[in-house]
């Protein structure tokens, strides 16, 4: 990005305007395709504007962790892949951060009841692996990865070796912690940053929200004031409804 463009975007932001003519808190269009990967137990392809991600869920047998004998396990991994785009920050660190924040939202909201994933007490439990790969990064990988992971979990159907029936994951659907990412550019706050906006942004703030706030992550080199944090939380609560509808669209209860 040239210095001219950089300054132009920051000047626009000061007037609360965006390069792609969106409103301050207008998200980009979300498109979801289910079950795109036939080798996975559940999968989803999500487009958030031009950001494209695929999430795949695999449920496999494993031995429980020594400190949690009667619980299954959840493993979430996000890969900001090299084919997706060039990354300003260190790609691997970025992947880890996105992965851990996505994991935190799903885990802390207790979306999956891990205690129901026990096959044989103390010996065999189910491990739920959620892998998200970014195919094209046009900004806001946090939200795209979160939506793809949630949708893939929602449509997961799996078999357990030695058993006939098909299982679905034990979910508490009211606990869908949906991620909402805000960006702060030159003092102004916007929702759902594009790649260009991420390039010029001072700070980032991701809120994972179900009935309550389940995860927060401040990123970037800038700062937020306590008032701004509260403001973003309020906005996220308002915005959640719309994303929840999109996420649950066509999911049979």
């Amino acid at each position: 990005m040239t210095l001219e463009n950089y300054n132009y975007m920051r000047e626009l932001a000061e007037k609360k305007l965006r390069l792609d003519r969106r409103q301050e808190f207008e998200g980009r269009k979300i498109t979801i395709k289910d079950n795109v990967i036939n080798h996975s137990d559940g999968s989803a392809y999500v487009e958030l504007g031009k950001t494209k991600v695929i999430a795949g869920v695999k449920v496999l047998n494993g031995t429980p962790f020594p400190d949690r004998q009667n619980e299954g396990a959840l493993v979430v991994n996000v890969e900001a892949s090299e084919l997706a785009s060039k990354y300003g920050e260190d790609r691997i660190n970025y992947s880890i951060e996105v992965g851990r924040v996505t994991d935190r939202g799903i885990r802390e909201s207790n979306l999956i009841d891990l205690t129901k994933l026990v096959i044989e007490e103390g010996k065999t439990v189910s491990f739920v692996y959620v892998d998200v790969v970014c195919l094209n990064n046009e900004g806001n990988l946090f939200d795209a990865a979160n939506i793809a992971a949630l949708r893939a979990i929602l449509n997961t159907k799996y078999k357990i070796a030695g058993k006939e029936e098909i299982f679905t994951l034990p979910l508490n659907r009211e606990n869908l912690a949906i991620s909402h990412t805000f960006t702060k550019i030159n003092g102004a706050i916007f929702f759902d940053p594009s790649a260009e906006e991420e390039n010029v942004a001072d700070a980032r703030f991701t809120i994972g929200i179900s009935e309550k706030i389940n995860s927060l992550q401040k990123g970037g080199n800038g700062f937020f004031t306590p008032e701004e944090v509260d403001f973003c939380a309020g906005k996220a609560i308002e915005l959640r409804e719309e994303r929840f509808k999109i996420l649950m669209d066509n999911i049979n209860s």
């Binding site: 880890i96 309550k212 706030i213 995860s215 401040k218 990123g219 937020f224 004031t225």
Partner: protein, 248 residues
Amino acid sequence: MRTLQKGSGGYLKMYEERFDKRRFDELRKMEAETGVIPNAKGSARFKIGNTEAIAAVYGPEEVKPRHIEKADRGVIVCKYDMLPFSVPDRAKPGMDRRDIEISQVITNALNRAIVLEDMPRAMINIRVYITQADAGTRCASLTAVSMACADAGLPMRDLVAAVAAGKIGDSICLDLTKEEEDFHEGGATDVPIAFLPSKNEIVLLQLDGKVTREELKKVVEMGKKGAMEIYELEKETLKRRFSNESKS
């Protein structure tokens, strides 16, 4: 006595007295000193309860690897590591995914605190080790690092004061211990938060657990209060360090 009452939802509603008898807004006992690593440009040790962090700062120096160099400002490379003997089991030596994430959020906070515009084409190397862990390690690290940076004489906007606030049951608490953090029946929520106190800027904020918007507001307020106390200790420690220097 631990006063624990089961609520209707099956989980603990009230957390009336803390396990270690502290007030809800009380920090654990703190210790801080600078100059613990004479080889480094600046160094500091910060202990809060049973959590201890040691930080060392080297630089500004030549940027290595060259490709991370920035023409208009300095860069910070900060590595956080939990030592193998810092936790009840053994932590594997080297950095895991958690360490990398924490290094990243600490670096983000420092990028705001240190005036990097003053040192183009330079790099500051920071290492922080956790020798003992009892929750709140990323906050203790950040506090230690900010003192070490001041000790090294780097230009800073303000010191960073960091503390973990949180919620157990329905009670908002300050400076959680590991025992409280793992108290899942109570629905423990952990909120590490770091301020540049004199500017009222939040430079690090994370959360995992369950809080409402109103509770979040209270938690942030509580964090601010704790951060101010830590800020005073930091200033005290640094004053001591610089007055000693003038005498010798």
